[in-house]
Amino acid sequence: MQKHFALGAPPLVISQPTLSVKNLTVEYKARRGAVQAVRNVSFDVQRGEVLALIGESGSGKTTLGLALVGLLPSTARISSGTITYARFKSTAPNGRAIPERTIDVLKLSQNQLREFRWKECAMVFQGALNALNPVLRISDQFADTAKAHGYLQGKALQERAAHVLTLVRLDPERVWRAYPHELSGGMRQRVLIALGLLLEPQLLILDEPTTALDILTQRSIMDVLKELRQRLDFSLIFISHDLSLAAELADRVATVYAGKIVETGDVYTMFKNPRHPYTIGLINAVPTLAGTKEELTSIPGSPPDLINLPSGCKFHPRCPLADEQTRSIEPEMEEIAAGHWVMCWHWRTAREALHVYKEKAVVGAES
């Protein structure tokens, strides 16, 4: 049993986190057996915080996102854990936010869950080019969303929508009466983010918001997100495979491997002092302008089969530091510094072994 760890919460602030996930396990039914997409994961997201969940495709991070808004497909089953949101009243006079009530997502009825979605927690999906109904105008899609949650109507809605559209640097005049196909991919993605902001949710989940967009559009979306972060008061979970994007935006980073968070810490620590071989591998895979081609390495091997997980540490087949202990016993999360948690037997030596890792990786890639 894994103990719950409070992710880098500053110890002096006695505030309830916006989102608290405890021991969450999600499985899919498949013909070959159970797909263990999320395994006993716990984390918190504080008010106003940006958490980046980083991992390769197939690491279970999207499943995690879907579970947070109760949108898992019918083949999935949450076998354990809790997901709790704290709904805050507007900030009190002394600047502190007062929790109004807490919401246990897994206990909500279908209708309560429907009301909860988007109003408390909006999720913008991967592949957003097709995320808007092609036969409805943008205005209708805003109206649909507003109506479903008993939000503003008519003129007031249009004003509010113009406000959020401006926030994502769109021209409301141009977009409001348009159909999705009349907008470019980047515009559609920003419309969706604006739609996500419409109801002032406390948490926004962005699942690979820039994949499938060209590099310039990606850039402008990232700029929009950075700006929003500064101007608005909401928490953000940023799911991506791209560590460099996370570096721009996140307060905290968590790397996800085989359905589990393997290392987490504030963004500075994670880049300057990474301790898990997987995190180190991901950082080495990020190209830098200064770096030469030789320095760029990929992690050998591929993500594990989530039905037949390896024994011991799930990363051991790809890990240059693997030994007998690694192969037989899965390590526990360990807090190695304030707010820096790692799940590795060799976290002490991993950094020094970094260059060994890289050499081995280069050899492995060439053979």
């Binding site: 808004v69 949108l71 429907r114 009301e115 909860f116 979605r117 988007w118 109003k119 909006a122 999720m123 999906f125 592949g127 957003a128 080019l129 097709n130 995320a131 808007l132 109904n133 092609p134 036969v135 409805l136 649909d144 969303t145 479903a148 949650h149 141009r174 348009a178 159909y179 196909h181 009349e182 907008l183 470019s184 515009m187 969706l192 739609l195």
Partner: protein
């Protein structure tokens, strides 16, 4: 930044830009296409009827010669019935033929005591349009409704049951359904004697706004309409099923759920509306198919529509009538297809701005 692909010049502000966009592009384009189709078909008919060796005109003239007329008299007789001067060169005959058509002059029936073909058709057409049109609309919406139910309940017993029924209905020719229905209703279950179901009106009922008239019309149309519905609903169901299944996998449906939209709104405006779009492209096929089938169905039920008129014309080799019915039927298909296309354009904004064709 703008990637809009609307080829409309926006020099002056227009009060209804969307209306203008449709009229300047879509409506007009669709109408021209319909007219082009009709022209192609009429040209085809002209050359088949007139220019082919062993054409109906030659056959008719030969028949008359065999009956003892001189060739010249026979030609004159044929010409007077077809309203075309057969001694003129072909191109001139063709122009004359098109001119006649434009005036609604379809010639004179060989058989029915010299009646105008257009009058004959005008008497019969409303019955066919009524029975076929109503059935097609009912089966279209029924098919959409049932197809969506199957898609939502897929891999349950209901799915297997309805899918197999739909595939069966799709496979069995309409006239067989008609025969089996008559045998069941009047011979096996003995609900109504078969004789009473014949025709499109009972003897002695006068057309008018009376309860008797409408009741009688409905009584006679019920069985043919049921046959048309059964014959076409299967294919609508199956198309709608597969279309709905693929729509349910679209991102915008998942996002709509994430947006917390009520299920009723998602089913109608997000799934239903998008999933039904491909069905509109099958409309031409379906109406042409049902109208074709009406030839036999109207014979079986002795329903007084143009299908029955065509059968009679076929038996008596009444070519002006055949030609007229074929033309009118095609025009009906072309126009219902144009209406379906316009409706499609209304439901799917992407079609309106999409330039030429598909």
């Amino acid at each position: 930044m703008s990637t809009i692909s609307v080829p409309v010049t926006t020099e002056r502000p227009v009060s209804f830009p969307w209306l203008r966009r449709i009229t300047s592009n879509f409506l007009l384009r669709r109408l021209l296409k319909a007219l082009f189709t009709i022209w192609t078909v009429t040209t085809l008919i002209f050359f088949v009827i007139r220019a082919m060796p062993g054409s109906p005109v030659d056959i008719f003239v030969n028949d008359l010669v065999l009956k003892g007329l001189t060739e010249e008299e026979a030609m004159r007789r044929a010409a007077s019935l077809l309203h075309i001067d057969l001694s003129e060169p072909l191109p001139k005959q063709y122009v004359e033929f098109l001119g006649n058509l434009a005036r609604g002059d379809l010639g004179i029936s060989y058989i029915n005591r010299g009646q105008e073909v257009s009058t004959l058709i005008a008497q019969r057409l409303p019955w066919t349009l009524f029975s076929v049109g109503t059935s097609l609309i009912i089966s279209f919406f029924l098919g959409i409704f049932l197809g969506m139910i199957i898609a939502y309940k897929r891999d349950t017993w209901l799915d297997h049951l309805l899918t197999n029924i739909a595939a069966g209905l799709d496979a069995i020719p309409a006239y067989m359904t008609a025969i089996v229905l008559i045998i069941l209703i009047s011979l096996v279950w003995k609900i109504v004697p078969a004789g009473e179901l014949r025709g499109s009106l009972s003897a002695g009922i006068k057309p008018g706004f009376t309860f008797d008239f409408f009741g009688d019309v409905l009584k006679h149309v019920a069985l043919p309409a049921l046959v048309y519905i059964l014959a076409s609903v299967g294919s609508w169901m199956l198309t709608m099923k597969s279309s709905t299944v693929s729509t349910l996998g679209e991102d915008y449906v998942t996002v709509a759920k994430a947006r917390g939209l009520p299920e009723s709104r998602i089913i109608t405006a997000y799934v239903g509306r998008n999933a039904s779009l491909p069905l509109f492209t099958r409309f031409a096929l379906s109406i042409a198919f049902i109208l074709g089938g009406s030839v036999i169905i109207e014979k079986i039920f002795t329903y007084q529509g143009i299908g029955l008129l065509l059968t009679q014309a076929l038996y008596s080799r009444d070519y002006p009538v055949m030609q007229g019915i074929f033309l009118v039927t095609t025009i009906a298909v072309v126009f219902s297809n144009a209406i379906a296309d316009l409706l499609y354009g209304f439901l799917d904004p992407r079609i309106r701005v999409q330039g030429e064709g598909n």
